[in-house]
């Protein structure tokens, strides 16, 4: 069942929602938001896209398999935890960059950790949803 309205609106909404997800992710440290919520929003965007355009198109839009998102996310989170070990601090101590970056503001390993959470949530949610949707189609 293909709906023209859903199809065209989802194509417009996808980039907007992804952008919004990043916005929520970045502002998370100071305002309501964060990696978990942002990940869910991005997943919702891609799910909407998958519902209107088909799982195959949604997967293509993600470039790599959803499982890689999980792995990359875990690597980001673990890496953020391991980095402070190099400077002799305990695991998961947050390190801060001494100068603020444009757009992102003050950046520390808390952000890369949150980015990891974001990616894992996207990966895990979409892996599950896509697998279920494919089981439905197949």
């Amino acid at each position: 069942m293909k709906s023209l309205i859903l199809s065209s609106s989802s194509r417009l909404l996808l980039p907007l929602m992804i952008l919004f997800a990043f916005f929520i992710l970045i502002r998370g440290h100071n305002e309501p938001g964060g990696g978990f919520i942002a990940g869910l929003i991005a997943s919702a965007a891609l799910t909407l896209y998958a519902v209107s355009e088909g799982v195959g198109r949604a997967k293509d839009a993600m470039r790599v398999h959803t499982i890689y998102y999980i792995g990359t996310g875990l690597a980001f989170a673990l890496g953020s935890g391991l980095l402070p070990l190099l400077s002799g601090k305990p695991f998961l101590t947050v390190l801060w960059l001494s100068f603020p970056l444009p757009v992102l503001g003050k950046v520390g390993t808390a952000f890369t950790f949150d980015l990891g959470v974001f990616l894992v949530v996207i990966g895990a949610t979409l892996t599950t949803i896509f697998a279920m949707a494919e089981a439905e189609e197949g």
Binding site: I24, G28, H29, N30, E31, P32, G33, G34, G35, F36, I37, L40, I41, S43, A44, T47, V51, V55, G56, K59, H65, I67, I70, G71, G73, L74, A77, L78, G81, F91, L92, V94, W96, K106, G108, A110, F113, D114, G116, V117, V120, V121, G123, A124, T125, T127, T128, I129, A131, M132, A133, E134, A135, E136, G138
Partner: protein, 805 residues
């Protein structure tokens, strides 16, 4: 010193790769490491003989008193030299023995892991560090025994060794922890300082028993001795190295190491001496009736290990010296004899001692090695074995030159057991030399050829060392064994400086010499009578049916069956019954505690309910009713969504935007997920009986009531959490974030989040694997294909992509 241990583990990592390059010469190359360590350690001999000890400390978990502290003293040096010296010979021997085996590289890897672990065990002076290496030796022993993993025998033997020694290891760990609690330290040196306090503690007996169980399982003491003969399924280099020269000595080593702390009590004497002597007799008796060369040696090893334990239990100055000397000489001759047995097996294709004969003409050098080792085993001068046996008798009789000689009953008893055990050793020694090498050449499965140097060199070298150590005692200046090896080791064990001089020639006619003579005569008589005795011994086979091995076997057989029954009784496989059990148990346990232990607070408020709250409440109640009563999933799922959204709105009302946002997204996605699986789910139908429905309703209502009560209880108390205040105050100054919720997630409680996302990832992978497996099962009927697809998820994804494009 840590480098010595790490070098072994490091080389183990690369051994298979090295093997791929240097193929048939690998063993010569790899032997360089143990030889190097041996020489390095040997350079410390003069220092150690001077009663120094060398320490190297590495912090590990200092807050728990767990450190990687290494100490080189007389005892650890003796063990370390045995481990590396014999280790080098074994690596070379393995090259000849396994020549052409496809997994030769892997074998070296296992062997080096074992060597490194054993070295760590010998050098550790922290109980927990020692335990870690102890377990590593068990694991590498498992891998080595099961090396021929395509044979069911090998696998069963490997598992048996692991279960027995691993189980003992657990007991030992418990003993270590108790000892750590009593002595408030895991450092052996600090525990020695508190010997008296430990002896008088009421935990002393449990500590002694638990640690003894660990040592007894490892050193194959009765009734745990049965794993050792089974372990002969391992390739012979392993039997020679682990199961005679080194690993089985670990239990004895541990008892020796801890004897300054634990010895000196009646309990110690009783436990060790009774188990030791019983093991001596069991091993000696069983060794006589075997046909298989390796099994003969295995049981005779059991007997020797029993002697070592009994000597340590005897706990006198001479007994300690005798134990250390026996430890050394046993490793020398038993290692050599195992290598000989392996070579004979390798060249002739059989290990049945009664089928062999006349090999002297084919392999005289191997025969020479056998003579030396067998003479040492039988305790005939001038080999070191003779001196060892004399010292054992001296200890058992309590003989002291110049003092009145009046042994008590126990001494006579111990001497008698030692005599029987030694007589059996004489028989075994004779059996191993005369049967294969004398007489006429017999028909064997393989035509015997002279073995290569790698297959007899090691055994010959050990025999020569045993001879030299014996001959060198003739002059007290050249007595290397006594001055540098045994003396310092015995001093470390006995806790006093002992100046030991070994004598080959007794200065006077003493009772020990007489006992030695009797031992030889009894041994010779037994050997002569063995052909007649054998059928008799084989009839006395009751041990096999009722012994500890049968007990082990039946527990291994029946434990899984029993466990399955127990599990099946509450694992019905129905999600609904799990939910009912979990929720029901929670209601009962929490509800009971609540009613019995907490006073009911007076509930205030109720008048300040907002209009919005009331509206949301009504919506939720209506939606819940719809979920429960609806007859189609199409109603149920959106109704669940309504409940979720309403709760999210409540979050907003109470000022928790983060929670609300999450809840909104989760609800949206859950509804989508439900819709996706909607077609798969069956129509809602009433299948349960009325009673079952009532029961479920009861559980649900009780759970709801409980949670409501809990919340009322909690909110009735004024909310004063120091934690909340701390988090709110420190969020910005310390974590540079104003959103406390997010700061908690990524900073204050980052470790929790780490765990949560890992669980999330695992869950998603699980769902993916399950669903993909189902897809491939429905699309292809081929089972093997379905299996391979489960294994290579990625490959499947590629194919899916091709199909869709």
């Amino acid at each position: 010193m840590l480098m010595l241990i790490l070098a072994g583990f490091g080389l183990a990592l690369f051994a298979p790769a090295i093997y791929r390059i240097t193929k048939p010469h690998t063993h010569w190359l790899l032997a360089a490491l143990p030889i190097g360590i041996f020489l390095y350690l040997a350079s410390y001999l003069p220092d150690i003989a001077d009663h120094q000890s060398i320490h190297a400390n590495y912090e590990w978990v200092p807050s728990l008193g767990i450190n990687l502290n290494l100490t080189l003293d007389g005892l650890s040096l003796l063990m370390a030299l045995l481990i590396t010296g014999i280790g080098a010979l074994i690596v070379v021997y393995a090259g000849g023995y396994l020549h052409g085996d496809p997994y030769e590289g892997r074998f070296y890897s296992f062997l080096l892991i074992f060597m490194a672990a054993m070295l760590g065990l010998a050098l550790s002076s922290n109980l927990i560090g020692l335990f870690m290496f102890w377990e590593l030796t068990s694991i590498s022993s498992y891998l080595l025994i099961g090396f021929n993993h395509d044979k069911a025998d090998s696998r069963a033997a490997a598992l048996k060794a692991l279960l027995v020694t691993g189980g003992g290891g657990l007991a030992m760990l418990a003993g270590f922890i108790l000892l750590g609690i009593v002595g408030n330290s895991f450092e052996i040196s600090q525990l020695i300082a508190q010997t008296d306090a430990i002896h008088s503690d009421r935990l002393y007996l449990p500590i002694l028993l638990l640690i003894s169980i660990g040592a007894f399982t490892k050193s194959a003491q009765f009734p745990f001795h049965f794993w050792l003969p089974s372990a002969m399924a391992a390739p012979t280099p392993v039997s020679a190295y682990l199961h005679s020269a080194t690993m089985v000595k670990a239990g004895v080593f541990l008892l020796a190491r801890l004897s300054p702390i634990l010895a000196g009590t009646d309990e110690w004497r009783l436990v060790l001496c009774s188990v030791g002597t019983l093991t001596m007799l069991t091993g000696a008796y069983l060794s006589l009736k075997q046909h298989d060369l390796k099994r003969i040696l295995a049981y005779s090893t059991v007997s020797s290990l029993g002697l070592l334990v009994a000597l340590l239990g005897w706990d006198s100055k001479t007994a300690t010296e005798a134990a250390m000397l026996f430890l050394l000489m046993h490793s020398l001759y038993k290692g050599a004899l195992f290598m000989v047995a392996g070579t004979i097996d390798h060249e002739t294709g059989t290990r049945d001692v009664y089928q062999l004969g006349g090999l002297w003409s084919k392999m005289p050098l191997l025969g020479l090695a056998t003579i030396l080792a067998a003479l040492s085993m039988a305790g005939i001068p001038p080999l070191i074995g003779f001196i060892g046996k004399e010292l054992v008798y001296e200890a058992s009789l309590g003989y002291e030159s110049g003092h009145a000689f009046s042994p008590d009953t126990l001494s006579w008893l111990f001497s008698l057991v030692a005599l029987l055990s030694n007589a059996a050793a004489v028989v075994v020694g004779s059996l191993l030399f005369f049967k294969p090498f004398s007489g006429k050449l017999t028909e064997t499965p393989k035509h015997p050829h002279p073995p290569p140097l790698s297959l007899y060199g090691g055994a010959l070298l050990l025999g020569i060392v045993a001879t030299l150590l014996g001959l060198l005692t003739l002059n007290s200046h050249t007595d290397i064994g006594g001055k540098y090896l045994i003396g310092p080791a015995a001093s470390a064990v006995y806790g006093q400086t002992l100046n030991l001089h070994l004598h080959l020639m007794p200065s006077e006619l003493n009772p020990m010499l007489l006992l030695s003579l009797i031992t030889l005569i009894v041994g010779a008589l037994l050997y002569a009578a063995l052909p007649k005795l054998l059928p008799l011994l084989e009839k006395l086979d009751s041990g096999a049916r009722w012994g500890p091995e049968a007990l082990y076997q039946s527990s291994v057989d029946y434990l899984p069956i029993g466990a399955k029954r127990v599990s099946m009784s509450f694992q019905s496989g129905y999600l609904r019954s799990y939910v009912a059990w979990v929720v029901g148990a929670m209601v009962v346990l929490v509800g009971y505690t609540l009613l019995s232990q907490v006073e009911f607070p007076t509930i205030t408020g109720g008048s300040d309910i907002w209009f919005y709250e009331a509206v949301l409440l009504v919506i939720i109640v209506v939606a819940v009713m719809m979920v429960v009563t609806s007859s189609t999933l199409l109603f149920t799922i959106p109704s669940l969504g309504v409940i979720g959204y309403s709760i999210a709105l409540i979050f907003i009302l109470y000022g928790a935007p983060d929670l609300a946002m999450t809840q909104f997204s989760i609800e949206t996605l859950s509804v989508v997920l439900f819709v996706l699986v909607l077609n798969r789910l069956p129509e809602l139908a009433r299948l349960s009986s009325r009673a079952a429905r009532m029961r479920d309703a009861l559980i649900s209502i009780a759970a709801g009531a409980l949670i409501t009560t809990l919340i009322l209880f909690v909110t009735a108390e004024p909310l004063e959490s120091p934690l909340a205040q701390f988090l709110a105050e420190n969020s910005y100054p310390q974590a540079h974030g104003r959103n406390v919720v997010n700061v908690i997630l990524v900073d204050f409680r980052g470790f929790d989040t780490m765990g949560e996302i890992t669980v999330l990832a695992t869950g998603a992978l699980g769902i993916y694997a399950l669903l993909k497996l189902r897809v491939s099962e429905s699309s292809h009927d081929d089972d093997t294909e379905a299996y391979t697809e489960m294994v290579s998820v990625e490959e499947h994804h590629q194919r899916q992509k091709e199909q869709t494009s």
